[in-house]
């Protein structure tokens, strides 16, 4: 599971959707692997405006990455090659292969196995 994915998912439990505590889900026992992907500056530049920066800062911190800047790169900063390369590496090349994602609202745990997170709910939570 790529780091960017964590920015676009939340808890599957309906009642959690309205709680601010359900985003982002929290990584536990994450095992990371780097996977090299083609660097496409245009793609990163286009996607950054859709990233929840606060959420990404929480995720990056939990995964042990150096702190991200406090504010999201905008305007000129989106044309800084190093900034885009760093984000490419964090968002797309960093894979969480094993671990758990935990909801801060209901505490339900979603397992990540061989790079895929499973968001199916046990029947008592549906």
């Amino acid at each position: 599971m790529k780091v960017i994915t964590a920015n676009f998912v939340t808890c599957s439990v309906k009642e959690c959707k309205t709680s601010p505590n359900s985003f982002p889900l929290h990584f536990h026992d994450a095992e990371l692997e780097m996977q090299e992907l083609d660097f496409q500056p245009e793609f990163i530049r286009n996607v950054i405006p859709r990233i929840d920066w606060e959420g990404l800062r929480v995720t990056a911190n939990e995964l042990g990455f150096p702190s991200l800047p406090e504010t999201k790169p905008e305007g000129e900063a989106l044309y800084d090659e190093q900034t885009l390369k760093d984000l490419h590496r964090l968002l797309l090349e960093t894979q969480v292969m094993e671990g758990r994602l935990i909801c801060g609202n209901c505490s339900h745990e979603y397992v990540i196995k061989e790079g895929i997170a499973n968001f199916l709910l046990p029947s008592h939570l549906v």
Partner: protein, 228 residues
């Protein structure tokens, strides 16, 4: 689990787990309407492919980012190869995504596997929930839904208006090796009749923008209704 969920588990989910590999090898050509819908998106759009199967639509437009999901882990694993996108295992009835966030969502040949009318409407409502609401200053997120048509008298199957809509369709899995036998699996389908998909979208809170028929399927492009 209620009866409908147990039924779908046995007659849809377990079948796709079993046939994932063979099914995937037969699904590679994007349908034209889906291709066009994806190609018209703004660069940087972020959206969902709900019930992505082998992920054949993930590569259509390289300027958008898609979070793909499937109920079958075996299919989700096959879809994982399509970079730079993401794939997760999720259920269409309980999607792990925030409200009103995404620019678009597609769900191609998925809702026809849901076994009651109420649940099909609920599934479409769940997809609509994830896309942006329209306002006076911005247009809402768009969803594209595809479902198998009852009216397909020129197809190999030959069904037409008046035939039963809730049916089992066999999938014959080819032998995996010389000492393996071909095996038949039956999948549940609800065949949509003309106008039915539009009605389901409306009931689910969607406003139909465009609709039509392509390759034995009914399709609809819709956006969440705005409060009026």
């Amino acid at each position: 689990m209620d009866a409908a969920e147990v039924y779908e588990q046995k007659n849809v989910h377990e079948v796709y787990q079993q046939i994932a590999e063979h099914f995937s090898s037969t699904r590679y050509k994007p349908w034209p309407i889906v291709e066009q819908f994806l190609k018209e998106l703004q660069p940087g759009s972020v959206g969902l492919d709900v019930g992505c199967g082998n992920g054949k639509y993930l590569t259509v437009n390289k300027d958008v980012f898609i979070i793909a999901s499937d109920r079958s882990e075996n299919l989700a694993r096959i879809a994982l190869q399509h970079q730079p996108h993401s794939t997760v295992v999720a259920d269409i009835m309980d999607l792990p995504h925030r409200d009103a966030f995404f620019d678009f969502a597609i769900s191609i040949a998925v809702v026809h596997h849901i076994s009651t009318s109420a649940r099909r409407v609920q599934a479409i409502a769940e997809i609509l929930r994830t896309v942006k609401r329209g306002s006076e200053t911005q247009s809402g997120g768009k969803i594209l839904i595809y479902a198998w048509a009852l009216e397909q008298k020129n197809s190999r199957r030959g069904w037409d208006k008046g035939d039963p809509q809730d049916i089992m369709v066999p999938w014959v899995r080819k032998a995996k090796s010389a000492d393996d036998q071909p095996q038949t699996f039956n999948r549940y389908y609800h065949l949509y009749e003309e106008g039915e998909l539009e009605r389901d979208i409306d009931q689910a809170g969607g406003h139909v923008l465009e609709s039509g028929y392509e390759k034995d399927n009914w399709w609809v492009i819709a956006t969440p209704k705005t409060a009026s």
